[in-house]
Amino acid sequence: MAIDVRIPTILRSFTGGSKTVAGSGETLAELLSDLDSNYPGLKARLITPEGGLHRFVNIYVNDEDVRFLGSLDAKLNDGDTVTVLPAVAGGAFGMAAALALSRPPSPQPTAPALRG
């Protein structure tokens, strides 16, 4: 059973730089274990020590979020495409705004770089 798995840039250090890898399994949990045997360490970046999906990882089976398909128990079929993406809902700018709000103390006043 062959399932194509798309790996995001930040996790390609585990796949020798490969963008897409192949794996097998009846469920997402089985697929991730199978992948981990070829790409050691990958699974630990996707699943927490408690056994759940990492909060900042989204995994999609044929474009649908597995959290709504039973998470690690999501069923897989031959020919499915699994996509792993880091969670950046709202694009980069949601994160930018969130971090900007947590202002560190003692600001250093400098001239604003306005290009209005």
Binding site: I10, L11, R67, V88, A92, G94, P107
Partner: protein, 316 residues
């Protein structure tokens, strides 16, 4: 009555139109809620107005205040209009890789823009926004990703409008950005009909946008509550472009690419209902029209060309 005291009073109450040619059958119909028919041309007018009014009510915004908002476009444009009418200055932080129309629109409405370099991806955007916030502690950030007034705008307006115009609604599909539209509308509809399906479609961008250093730097907006959603789809650029073109070719509906992604998910839900032999009324939200994206060139040429012209851009 189609007379309004000011532009702000025109916000919301947008039309819901059927798409008879793209609906799979008489029993499974697809409806488009035209939120491009808002004062500045996007769904973000609802959130902008609610967030400004909430900040005025709780005293965070005083006359002459400066509002700072990191945005890739529509929220900035909506806030610029509201800020102008209410007497505030607006500074937007945005990436260089947004369409030129957005920049022109923002400046026209009087907003000031600080660009974060596209080359640095999200890391650079984070650094820029953080630096500005440090330098200007008195500027007010409405922070649409965690502002309850954003979701409340949809709970109090979008949701009730949909149920009023389509009491038989079975599915609501919208884009997932700040998550405000889906959280607010979804909660309202679910309260009235526990069986309604709330479906999210999020754009799947090119590598650049996901340029994090590691997984732990990820981000989920504070407004997001997965329990409101029934399903969530990631829609690639090619599918979004294909559906965007299909909407204008078949139904004459000219929308932005994020709406194409949303329609892709709506169509999938509709066809599943047909397969299952169920009746369905699937409503999806048109977040904006296509005008601001014409310069991308992605409305013409082959799908592959369109895909590559949108690569590395924030098209939603």
């Amino acid at each position: 009555m189609a007379r309004f005291e000011s532009l702000l009073d025109l916000c919301g109450d947008t039309p819901l139109v059927g798409l008879p040619r793209l609906s799979p059958s008489a029993d499974v119909r697809i409806w488009a809620k035209l939120d491009d028919r808002n004062p500045t041309g996007s769904v973000k007018d609802r959130a902008a107005m609610y967030m400004v009014r909430a900040a005025e009510a709780d005293g965070r915004l005083r006359p002459g205040a400066t509002i700072l908002e990191p945005t890739s476009g529509n929220t900035g444009i909506a806030l610029a209009m509201v800020a102008k009418l209410q007497g505030y200055r607006l500074v937007c932080v945005m990436p260089e890789n947004v369409s030129t129309e957005r920049v022109q629109l923002l400046r026209m409405y009087g907003a000031e823009i600080i660009f974060s370099p596209a080359a640095g991806g999200s890391n650079q955007a984070v650094a820029t926004a953080k630096q500005i916030a440090v330098e200007h502690p008195d500027w007010v950030m409405l922070y649409q990703y965690g502002n309850e007034a954003n979701a409340r705008a949809h709970y109090e307006t979008t949701g009730p409008e949909l149920l009023r115009d389509l009491p038989t609604i079975t599915h609501f599909v919208a884009g997932l950005g700040t998550t405000g539209t889906l959280m607010g509308t979804g909660r309202y509809l679910r309260e009235k009909n526990p069986d309604v399906q709330i479906i999210a479609a999020e754009p799947r961008y090119g590598e650049l946008v996901y340029g994090l250093r590691n997984i732990d730097e990820g981000y989920v907006p504070e407004l997001y509550d997965a329990s409101v959603l029934s399903r969530r789809f990631s829609v690639g650029t090619r599918d979004a472009v294909l559906r965007t073109r299909q909407l204008v070719e078949v139904e004459g509906l000219f929308v932005g690419f994020s709406t194409g992604a949303v329609f892709h998910a709506a169509l999938a839900a509709a066809h599943e209902a047909v397969k299952a032999g169920r009746k369905a009324d699937v409503a999806f939200l048109v977040a904006d029209a296509g005008w601001k994206y014409l310069s991308t060139g992605a409305y013409t040429g082959t799908l592959a060309e369109a895909e590559s012209s949108l690569e590395g851009q924030l098209w939603a």
